[in-house]
């Protein structure tokens, strides 16, 4: 399968191309951990969720929908809407709003419907 068709845009993009900054910290990060989002190091507050970390980082989307490729960000933050789905440590469709960050965690944004058997690229 053509790589550029199944994984366009962010897999090849050099950075995370921040969207409009919708959230800012109440106080500077202390006690931070570092995870990787699409291979880029991103700092997070220990004990927060992956969804909060992505919104602080200002990613323009955490997934593109499998139906139309439309961008989505977390919507409800309490586990009901499933908009915040991302790949975490190689397992797809994890709810970012219910998953706590961990140092060294590997998060990948989802690009439509991922081919089920394709090995995850670290």
């Amino acid at each position: 399968m053509n790589e550029s068709v199944t994984r366009p845009a962010f897999a090849h993009s050099p950075g995370l191309q921040p969207g409009p900054k919708m959230f800012s910290d109440l106080a500077p990060l202390t006690d931070a951990v570092t995870l990787s989002v699409d291979g880029q190091p991103v700092r997070a507050r220990a004990g927060e969720t992956v969804a909060a970390c992505l919104l602080r980082a200002g990613v323009p989307y955490n997934r593109l929908t499998p139906v139309s490729g439309a961008p989505r960000l977390p919507y409800c933050m309490i586990g009901h809407c499933f908009e915040c789905l991302v790949e975490i440590d190689g397992i797809g469709n994890r709810q970012a709003c219910l998953t706590l960050v961990r140092d060294g965690m590997k998060v990948r944004r989802q690009d439509g419907a991922p081919p089920a058997l394709e090995p995850s690229v670290p």
Binding site: D25, L26, R72, C76, I78, G79, L85
Partner: protein, 506 residues
């Protein structure tokens, strides 16, 4: 050889660790009963007391100003969380299992759980569903764009992420939570560009006749919020209609109608809220009877005053009487005080069912009535606004499958005139959220097109109601040996049918 039924893992399994679940768990543990509490979140408190323990320990100036902004209603959960923690780990006591999702509940007390990559079943002699509420789904043009979030989501980011919104912020909708959030943001130095309320003065006037003495405190609180926002110079409108969010990759502007005039505002973050409704995903999939709550325009489980649900499953599909009770906002929207009061009532009823105690005390029942007495006023003052009118044909109803109201209307008109047929034909409700966001709108569209009345129909809910990794299914623990059939390679159909396969036509 006879196979025995599995023994119960606990006297009571409680789903959800918010005010109702914690209050019930503490009451049961005090009476010496064993309790398992399953909760999605990492710490006790539910949505209202989210991250309260951690935030109380935060002595930094930013932590202190956050606590001040979240107010006394947030800190009020501290005592209950402390009592809950005192019983967790004790034996018998509360076996608290955080970060655990529930993907199946059966009327006989069997509960399917998932924690990380481990899954299984646990059984309780009684089960209490205290899984809480969700924000009312509000389909409007552009509601799927990045930059549209619910008020609850923004509050969660404040409490658990220490993140405050920035940029041009518009709040739209109705209900106490919208005004509360606007005030909290203001206290943290965030000034929204607009608070647009769908409710009108006439709603408040109509609501006044529902005012009971118990409603005076919330009324004074609400007027205080409004007054502070006005003093701060936050622009506010009432009677907002026809909200739409515009943009291609994210929200760039919002438009709406007020007093017949269309207005457009630049916007980076649109925060919407249209009141909260009981989460019915678990009760619906468990086969509990639901009823329509007219004043709150939502489903809720049909229960006795002490929370006992009624199974709609035929007797042959259930191994005994229904042992499911529902409490807190999952049973009926009432807020934290009502949830704690009813959690105690439900626990007392459970103790009676376990041959211990005389059932709910008059005091406990009175406390529920008192806490709920303010609801008729709030329901009338903040009627559903954003979700009141059915969406236009171009508006997305099912966020997961990106189906519009027009597509659903067309299918209904062409003959898919019940919820499951509509789901099978369109995939509406089949995506990851399993209908949590679209079901009520699909049901209302169906009723509208078929001119039906009464309780709107639901999708038939089937487990797993939340995604569960195949690896976890492969190693499920706690299976019922009576219901387990082990297939071997010899049982594979191609082995058995080899002789009867027709020779290929050459």
């Amino acid at each position: 050889m006879s196979i025995n039924a599995p023994l119960p893992d606990a006297d009571v399994i409680i789903v959800g660790c918010g005010p109702a679940g914690m209050a019930a768990a503490v009451t049961l543990a005090e009476a010496g009963r064993s309790v398992i509490v399953l909760d999605m979140q990492p710490a006790p408190g539910g949505q209202i007391f989210r991250s309260l323990e951690a935030n109380l320990c935060d002595t930094s100036p930013a932590g202190q100003s956050l606590l001040a902004a979240l107010g006394p209603a947030y800190r009020a959960g501290a005592d209950l969380i402390r009592r809950f923690r005192a019983f967790s780990g004790a034996c018998p006591g509360i076996d608290y299992r955080p970060q655990t999702t529930v993907w199946e509940v059966r009327p006989d007390g069997t509960v399917g759980w998932l924690q990380g990559m481990n899954a299984g079943y646990v059984r309780g002699r009684q089960v209490l569903l205290a899984h809480g509420a969700m924000e009312r789904p509000v389909p409007f043009p552009g509601w799927t764009l990045p930059g549209v979030m619910t008020a609850g989501a923004v509050q969660t980011l404040l409490k658990a992420g220490h993140l405050k919104p920035s940029g041009r912020i518009v709040l739209a909708g109705t209900g106490p939570l919208l005004l509360l959030l606007a005030n909290q943001l203001h206290q943290l130095g965030v000034k929204p560009a607009l608070v647009g309320r769908t409710d009108r003065l006439s709603d408040s006037v109509r609501a006044a006749r529902h005012l009971r003495p118990g409603g005076l405190v919330p009324l004074v609180k609400g007027l205080g919020w409004l007054g502070r926002l006005k003093l701060a110079g936050v622009k506010s409108v009432t009677g907002l209609e026809n909200l739409a969010a515009h943009g291609t990759q994210n929200v760039e502007s919002v438009s709406f109608t007020v007093g017949g005039k269309r207005q457009t505002l630049p916007c980076d973050l649109l925060i919407v809220h249209d009141g909260i409704v009981p989460a019915i995903d678990i009760p619906n999939a468990a086969g509990l009877r639901l009823q329509w709550d007219g004043p709150n325009a939502s489903w809720r489980p049909a229960t006795t005053p002490d929370g006992l649900g009624a199974s709609t499953l035929p007797p042959e599909m259930s191994a005994g009487p229904c042992v499911l009770r529902v409490t807190g906002d999952a049973r009926r929207i009432g807020g934290a005080d009502a949830a704690m009061a009813h959690g105690r009532v439900a626990a007392q009823a459970i103790l009676a069912a376990l041959d211990h105690g005389a059932g709910p005390s008059a005091d406990a029942l009175r406390a529920v009535g008192k806490a709920l007495s303010v609801r008729p006023f709030l329901d009338a003052a903040f009627p559903p606004g954003l979700a009141q009118a059915l969406p236009d044909d171009d508006t997305i109803v099912c966020r997961c499958e990106e189906l519009t109201a027009g597509e659903l209307r067309e299918k209904i008109r062409s003959g898919f005139r019940n919820m499951d047929a509509l789901r099978g034909e369109t995939r509406c409700g089949m995506g990851p959220c399993q209908g949590r966001s679209c079901m009520v709108t699909a049901a209302r569209l169906l009723q509208n097109e078929t001119r039906a009345a009464g309780c709107p129909p639901t999708f038939r809910g089937r487990p797993p109601i939340r995604p569960i990794p195949l690896g976890a299914v492969a190693t499920l623990s706690g299976l019922d040996p009576r219901a387990t059939i082990r297939l071997t390679l010899e049982d594979k159909p191609e082995n058995a049918s080899e002789d009867t396969v027709d020779a290929p036509a050459e």
